[in-house]
Symmetry: C2
Subunit: 385 residues, 2 copies
Amino acid sequence: MLNFTFQNPTKSHFGEDQIKMIATEIPANAKVLLVYGGGSIKQNGVYDQVVNALSEHTWFEFSGIEPNPKYDTLMKAQQLIKQHDVDYLLAVGGGSVVDGCKFIAAAALFNGDDPWDILAKQTPITAALPMGAVLTLPATGSESNGNSVVTRDGHKLPFSSPIVRPQFAVLDPKVTLSLSDRQISNGVIDAFVHTIEQYLTYSVNAKVQDRFAEGLLQTLIEEGPKALAAQSNEDLEVRANIMWSATMALNGLIGAGVPQDWSTHMIGHELTGGFGIDHARTRSIVLPAVMKVKRQEKREKLVQYAERVWQITDEDETVKIDKAIAKTEAFFKQMDVPTRLSDVNISEKDIDDLVSMLEQHGMVALGEHSDITLAVSKQILEKAL
Amino acid sequence: MLNFTFQNPTKSHFGEDQIKMIATEIPANAKVLLVYGGGSIKQNGVYDQVVNALSEHTWFEFSGIEPNPKYDTLMKAQQLIKQHDVDYLLAVGGGSVVDGCKFIAAAALFNGDDPWDILAKQTPITAALPMGAVLTLPATGSESNGNSVVTRDGHKLPFSSPIVRPQFAVLDPKVTLSLSDRQISNGVIDAFVHTIEQYLTYSVNAKVQDRFAEGLLQTLIEEGPKALAAQSNEDLEVRANIMWSATMALNGLIGAGVPQDWSTHMIGHELTGGFGIDHARTRSIVLPAVMKVKRQEKREKLVQYAERVWQITDEDETVKIDKAIAKTEAFFKQMDVPTRLSDVNISEKDIDDLVSMLEQHGMVALGEHSDITLAVSKQILEKAL
């Protein structure tokens, strides 16, 4: 395997009724800003649980963080932070809220001229307000990593720093029972593709990382459809397994010491930025096309994926790979997400625009070999039509 | 799965030539005590690498920590710490050195009357000197957890606290090339049994933890024998996979949210304490007997273990379990460790003494159901004859 440094100090409180743990995780004298989204947490009881847990704290609130959190929205929190001397942030929501809260945390203590530089110029941050997270939608792993993606004027821009990694995360699978089918699907697909992006490259003989990644994929394949099935959609064990899989999929563990291929992610960002497609649904469209276009380069791992994740036993490697890709697409369809650009009304005439957006964002050498040029991205998009 | 809290802040620097990272991990103004064992690190070049990395630091050294580190030896370090105002410890060695260093760290800042109480009375510690670890023998996972076992007068006594978890661990698989076959075997078996102890209980439908545990077991089964084979005993990739497996086997991850059965460990401690048997070799003797005596209680997981780890496809569950236990014993034999008490010259007449040592140490209700009473431990020891 490759040399690596791995550290993940986020403390996870996992299980039913763990929201109360925030009372002791946040310093008693902190001035807390509760950061959330559109208000669904007021319907499903999470808001009340958080407010109860904060009964001994001084706290304020900032709501309205949208999916694909917007720069302008996030900057509005700064005034509140200054006004009340806020010194601790608590994100309550899914990946967008947690991502947005990370940017708020970094912008609050940014020592440059303009916090926009954190995204636009990738200016490294040197400080951020401490934060915790109460996760309501398992998907992005943001509750346990230092990654964030912020949108401005249709551009999705990432930044990453260990300084914005949440100090703690509360993962109560019970709060996910009120999610819509679409949210469940998106979450499972997001975690699945994250795992693939750190697994389906070329082998560096990293056996533990491979086995762990395969274990996550198998779990998501087994549990995802159960979470959508009406008869079991209140199965807490199913939700618990999906929730922990999603955290493990992007907390740094399975990606330590292995090559990674984030091309699906990056090409997908342009589908969200340009056409407003849900993050996860861009990935179920792009990933099968990446597998097809890069099947030679990924041959060894595709065979391993076929054998270990899908138990495909055919002798012929080409057949094995074909079947594994078909199984992946069938799983995506079972999870009720699109697998083609045509499913979301994007057609051949849009491809040049998407490619020029990739160019504009510097995404000109993607993949584990940096060989997914703009021309190859175009092939991938054409294959996804 | 069960509710849990999981946190592991230890930073792992993994790979060839990573020992140099200690130069930046240890604060520049620290007064460092280098803690090591019998001096093998002077033969294999590790000592020189550590000394080079500490060239800008003020440091002292304390050597002579033995396998199953002794209380009296460890207490000798305290004088050196006081004399030189040592404020950072660096353990360089295997699990015994790291375990011993944890006790030194805790004893140095113990605010009770007698540091012996940390072990004898399980008095909680409230402070400890910070420490890092350079691992030379992958086995116990001590480099990334808060556990320690110290021996006094033939009694092995554990203590555990997140306060003594190493801040960082350097894992360079290259340094393991100089290990003896016996050390390699012991390390692989130790990691294998640690994994089993957090896996082979009863199912709580914790799919991620199960898959991760199975992945570690499969990796150790694949790689262990290769590390012993003369033709490949310099295969760095093999050593790397074993090293990362051993860390993952006992860093808290696979044990989060699942029942655990440490009976093999605890019964094994008495074999070390009473008869001086290597830690790992007690476990290869005791584990098969635990599987046999508790096969009904562990039936579901034994079947899963047979199917997923050993790919046993027989229809009949009893046959499946028989074969899985036989495969486990065959693997232990392949790793050249004993699987019976008779292999280490312990006979039926010694069993009563072992049981009374278990009683003396309070080990009267072991296992995931706390139903391994002294009578059951006796059955296990008899089965292991």
